[in-house]
């Protein structure tokens, strides 16, 4: 079997600018934190990335999936004979073939089961029905048209409220004992009776029903896999872009009954993830089964329609919320939510939190009481509920609370910034325990809010809005202040499928003083190869250019749960800092030997240990490394070499936050929203590489523009997915973003419990921007027309309807 050298071994030298002196700046890398251009760029700008569809193995076969044209139907029969007769078809797999392998159903990450291929029934539009393996991808698609399936169509449910009707058709009749469409029991957080008391004493109560509509993470690279089972050795190599390779390996071992040590997952480059590449999908199981059946490597690459219509969607939370105030300040919040999980509950959550971290819904405010309850339902829609650039439903929570603060401000007739400033958790209240039980680490919210107002010229914008209003023009100013909890998480509270949410790191400093650090986190574009090298550099004083970051190969990296929920820096970054300090401590022992002194008499400065009081007497990390591998003078208890391992168990989540302000203009004639400005001030604690941090914020903001203004997965009454291509699932282009650029600012409040004080930033912008933009659109509607609410997405027809008092949520 072929193997591929996967980790970043293909770095061409980066010296080839025409004017190297002026422009070839990689040599200027900081020894530690600071602006540094990315090491991984070298291969990407030359087209040398190595993505799943780039994998070529000898004898590799291709595949395609036949999908259901109906959202809900009984399968009477499947005739694959004509497809099998196609000269290029190697095999066709249907549910009953998988049954013999024990692979017809697979567990989801929320302890439900999901059909790999539908056998008895199809339960959502475009569900997987048959898997065709052929010698080329075109032929596999041709053969799909030769398969005959006899369906009996059943009524479909695509409305989460209707799913709860007593006479609604039972969607999961495959589950023993399931008598209704509830996917999980009601889950709640907060003190209900105290909350009712606070509402009873309130001056003003605002009430809204909010839909955070179904959207899709939609990375530019679709999902796919090459499965390569060696029938002679039983070794299974899996080439697959996924965000949690170690967890996937454990799942495959458990599902397929394969010995875990025989499974090797190779995540090469990943063309974006955003949560979409966390779950295990039916196509993956089919590819593995296909490789077992066909005795050859099998590639499955989904097309864009399959990606949008069948793999992990996001959101789909219907929230009835009330927020109240007393004495001009927010005092209470209660939320009753229905979560639409689709046909199978494969939401991404930590086990003990069936509604994820939704109960962080109290946001950035010092409330007297809060209560939230969530029930989850099955519908005839695709499964998923992945955390799309989101720490387990925090996006929904932030959308809820930030829309509600604006709603309450409208009822109170007070400026929305003013209400936030009055109600913030004060900086002297940290660590702060919220009404639903979270302990926030640190913050100075008012400072961050004020900076955003300053950059935006908030007062000036409000004055401009009044001038525009007088001329019949509609302008809206939106505000959001979010607090996220990220970096799951402490093992005493958090696991997925029983696996504690920790991450490992392994650091080897070679005899020449160069290093390799291996991670369990998995980059999908976040720049790990640069920033994690910078963490080691900061701790050890080795240039980040001389530190290779290895990831994406389960045979060569330590165990850990991967990259999602902004976990990389908070958890994996913690592991890398800790392992670097272990190496530094070991280096101290060697330095003491080299300098013929006691270890406790040595002091550290970046890159060297020296004798306290005699700074000239010291040893550099390079010389220590050489000594560590060569000395024969090893005392009892000190092993040769300079390396270490760590597993980081975070003591708490980290709590990044930010103040966002957006400005929109709405065409009163057509309802079209023009995104004029976006101001984002983020506080994510210590910034390792400000350039990378800002890049993360840029991307998240524009994903928020998409969710707020144009992206939605919707269904017709028959359950057909209406947004299964880029013709109808609209990602923002450069033209939908503020023409002269996004406006960023920063404050830095370090995390007190994190080894380097960082909080994580990957998802912040995607959390704060949807309510910020929606608030801006509603602000425009309110000032011009007195309209107090509309749901996302705010595309022209929907804004016009809202303008005319007909705001409706999408289905």
């Amino acid at each position: 079997m072929a193997t591929v050298e996967t980790t970043p071994g293909r770095h061409p030298e980066f010296v080839s600018y025409a004017d190297g002196e002026k422009f070839g700046k990689i040599a200027d890398a900081p020894i530690g934190y600071g602006h540094m251009k990315r090491k991984e760029d070298a291969r990407f700008i030359r087209g040398l990335g190595d993505y799943t569809d780039d994998v070529r193995l000898p004898g590799m076969l291709h595949s395609a999936i036949l999908r259901s044209p109906y959202a809900h139907a009984t399968i009477n029969s499947i005739d694959t004979s004509a497809a099998l007769a196609h000269p290029k078809v190697a095999a066709v797999i249907i549910a009953k073939d998988l049954e013999t392998l024990g692979l017809a159903w697979m567990p989801t990450i929320s302890y439900d089961t999901q059909a790999v291929l539908a056998g008895d029934k199809v339960r959502f539009h475009l569900q997987e029905v048959a898997f065709v393996i052929a010698t080329d991808a075109y032929a596999a698609q041709d053969a799909l048209q030769l398969i005959e399936v006899d369906f009996d169509v059943l009524p479909a449910i695509v409305n989460c409220r209707k799913a709860l009707d007593p006479d609604a058709p039972l969607i999961r009749d495959d589950k023993v004992g399931q008598t209704d469409n509830l996917a999980s029991p009601m889950w709640e957080a907060g003190d209900k009776s105290n909350c009712d008391r606070v509402f009873g004493e309130a001056d003003v109560v605002a009430s809204r029903t909010l839909l955070d509509p179904r959207s899709h993470p939609c990375p530019m690279e679709t999902c796919g896999m090459v499965a390569d089972m060696n029938p002679d050795t039983g070794q299974l190599n899996i080439y697959n872009a996924n965000q949690a390779p170690h967890a996937h390996r454990t799942v495959y071992a458990q599902v397929a009954g394969l010995p875990e040590q025989n499974i090797r997952i190779l995540c090469n480059d990943i063309g974006g993830g955003f949560g979409n590449k966390v779950p295990v999908y039916p196509g993956y199981v089919c590819a593995i089964a296909g490789s077992i059946v066909a005795g050859a490597p099998v590639k499955w690459m989904e097309d864009r329609s399959e990606n949008l219509a069948s793999t992990g969607f996001a959101r789909d939370y219907l929230m009835h919320a009330e927020m109240c105030s007393k004495g001009g300040k927010i005092t209470g919040l209660r939320v009753d939510t229905i979560a639409d999980h689709g046909a199978f509950d494969s939401t991404a959550q930590a086990t003990k939190f069936p509604a994820g971290f939704f109960h962080i819904v109290t946001g950035s405010y010092d409330l007297q009481a809060a209560h939230c309850q969530v029930k989850a339902v099955y519908t005839n829609k695709a499964p998923g509920g992945v955390a799309y650039r989101c720490s387990f439903r925090i996006t929904e929570a932030i959308y809820c609370v930030e829309r509600m603060v604006d709603a309450l401000a409208m009822e109170m007739n007070v400026d929305p910034v003013e209400l936030r400033m009055r109600s913030f958790i004060r900086s002297d209240q940290f660590p702060y325990e919220t009404a639903t039980g979270w302990v926030y680490d640190s913050g100075d919210y008012a400072k961050t809010m004020k900076l955003a107002m300053e950059i935006a010229d908030y007062e000036g914008l409000r004055a401009e809005q009044q001038e525009k209003l007088a001329k019949g023009e509609m302008m809206g100013i939106g505000v959001a202040f979010f607090t996220e909890g990220v970096g799951a998480g402490p093992r005493r509270h958090m696991d997925i499928l029983g696996l504690a949410m920790n991450d490992g790191a392994e650091l080897r400093v070679h005899p020449t003083g160069k290093a390799v650090v291996s991670l369990s986190a998995q980059t999908q574009g976040q720049g790990h190869e640069t920033t994690f090298a910078q963490i080691v550099a900061e701790e050890l004083g080795i240039s980040p250019n001389e530190i290779m970051v290895r990831h994406g190969d389960t045979d060569k990296t330590p165990y850990g749960l991967g990259t999602y929920g902004s976990r990389s820096t908070p958890v994996s970054g913690g592991a890398v800092a800790v392992v670097s300090r272990k190496v530094r401590d070991k280096a101290r022992q060697f330095a003491a030997l080299m300098l013929e002194t006691r270890a406790e008499d040595l002091a550290w400065e970046k890159g060297r240990w020296f004798v306290r009081g005699d700074p000239e007497r010291g040893a550099s990390i390079e010389s220590i490394a050489e000594y560590a591998y060569s000395t024969t003078n090893l005392p009892e208890g000190l092993e040769g070499g300079l390396d270490a391992n760590a597993v980081y168990d975070p003591p708490n989540l980290t709590y990044p936050y930010g103040a966002y302000i957006s400005v929109v203009d709405v065409d009163p004639g057509t309802g079209k929203v023009h995104m004029r400005r976006f101001i984002a001030v983020d506080d994510c604690g210590v910034r390792i590489n400000p350039m990378v941090v800002e890049g993360q914020i840029h991307g998240g903001l524009v994903e928020g523009i998409g969710q707020a203004l144009m992206e939605v997965i919707s269904f017709d009454d028959q359950g057909n997915c209406l947004n299964a291509s880029f013709m109808d699932y609209l990602l923002p282009t450069a033209l939908e973003c503020p023409e002269h650029g996004l406006e960023l600012g920063e404050t830095v409040t370090p995390c007190p419990h994190h080894p380097i004080g960082a909080k994580g930033v990957g998802e912040s912008a995607c959390n704060g921007s949807p309510p910020c933009i929606t608030n801006a659109v509603v602000d425009a509607l309110y000032h011009a027309k007195g309209i107090k609410h509309m749901d996302m997405p705010c595309f022209p027809a929907r804004v016009w309807a809202a303008m005319n008092g007909n705001a409706q949520p999408v289905q």
């Binding site: 990375p219 890049g695 840029h698 291509s725």
Partner: protein
């Protein structure tokens, strides 16, 4: 049918089905994997390559290689991301600009985005004076999910400025 296409200055000749899309000719037959694909409906621009009509005096222009049959590309010169740098490895200014300005994250849209960016500079009478709108409109057929586009706009500007300062770097696929 035999389809002959010049890609990055090398004549390729492969026996393919007439329905084969150019993107698959490039990826599967010429084995140049730097050109990616991202949708089924010609919307995303991930698969963009530069195409030069040898009989035209226009500079090479971007085309969506998923929306051409390979057979249609006979007679044209195709430049993919692998052909952007000089044979000695010297990067094209657009490649430098994307690195300098952090205009890529996952790297998946980057080859197509750089191709379009290179063309915008090449065709503009005064590239350093391109407006924000001109650049944004120019890349509106290229979707990127990671960067939010701001740094891509800056990278295209960076490359335009570099070319002005270093005219010798302004090679085109035809040169």
């Amino acid at each position: 049918m035999i389809v002959n296409i010049s890609i990055n200055g090398q004549m390729q000749s492969h026996d393919v089905e007439p329905r084969l899309l150019l993107v698959h000719y490039i990826r599967e037959y010429a084995e140049l994997h730097g050109t990616h694909w991202g949708c089924d409906t010609s919307n995303c621009g991930i698969c963009i390559v530069l195409m030069d009509d040898p009989v035209s005096d226009q500079p090479p222009y971007p085309v969506k290689s998923c929306t051409m049959l390979a057979a249609m590309a006979e007679g044209y010169e195709i430049t993919t991301v692998e052909g952007m740098a000089a044979p000695d490895g010297t990067l094209d200014p657009i490649q430098m600009g994307f690195h300098e300005m952090h205009a890529l994250q996952c790297g998946f849209c980057t080859p197509g985005m750089m191709s379009t960016g290179r063309w915008l500079i090449e065709r503009h009478p005064n590239p350093t004076q391109m407006t924000d709108h001109e650049i944004r409109d120019g890349i509106s057929g290229n979707l990127c999910r990671c960067t939010g586009y701001d740094n891509i706009v800056k990278a295209i500007r960076w490359a335009a400025a570099y070319i002005e300062e270093h005219p010798e770097s302004a090679r085109t696929a035809r040169a």
